[in-house]
Symmetry: C2
Subunit: 103 residues, 2 copies
DNA sequence: TTCAATAGTTCAATATAATTGAAATATTGA
DNA sequence: TCAATATTTCAATTATATTGAACTATTGAA
């Protein structure tokens, strides 16, 4: 169960936009952003308590495949960080603007 | 056959992002943007020649319902304009940034 | 070491959305 | 009146999202 992450160059605008177009995923990203570089488990970053685990897991997979987060195993948890540098290198200002506008 | 457009306040970030997350729709929006306020028929703004008419029509519907374009009948054509002012009033800088980054 | 608890993932089923060809609608010009 | 044009609507197919249930991996306690 090791995760596949796209390299920085493989992050696409289409992928980023469609990942962020979902309100639940945007809330996950905001949480990670405000977590300032710290990892968070899926449960910690969950956008709402009543969401099915499998749905949450799927949202994390979409964020991961879009290149927005990086996930590593850490004991029984899977911890994710926002790939802020990669996203800003590829699409400068986009992440911050979207988070600001979604406030 | 008159079109329903959301009012400025009803334009949502989610709607705008998911409308722009499709490469064909992004090309339509780019075309309209570069058209500088001028209307364009569906056929003129078509992102690729081989796309089915019904698919194109559906993309215009999605753009319209997201509040990105305004469409009016003009003879046998349905002409669309980008709702630049409305989008910028609601989400300042977003449209220009996405178009720039997608360049 | 065994076992239960925890955290996520995968699977299969259902529900929702996108794509397309074909048929329908509306407008104009001959 | 009729054919041409531009686009929409419809129905079928295909793709994507959501969920509960079963599965996997890791840890901590008895």
């Amino acid at each position: 169960m090791n995760f596949v992450h796209p390299s920085r160059e493989d992050i696409t605008l289409e992928g980023v936009l469609s990942a962020l177009a979902d309100p639940m995923r945007l809330r996950i990203v905001r949480f990670l952003y405000e977590n300032r570089g710290n990892c968070a488990s899926c449960a910690e970053a969950a956008p709402c308590p009543k969401m099915a685990k499998s749905t949450l897991s799927n949202h994390f997979r979409i964020l991961r495949e879009a290149g927005l987060i990086r996930t590593v195993k850490h004991g029984v948890e899977h911890r994710s960080v926002l790939r802020k540098e990669d996203i800003n290198a590829r699409f400068p200002g986009l992440l911050e603007l979207i988070l600001k506008l979604a406030a």
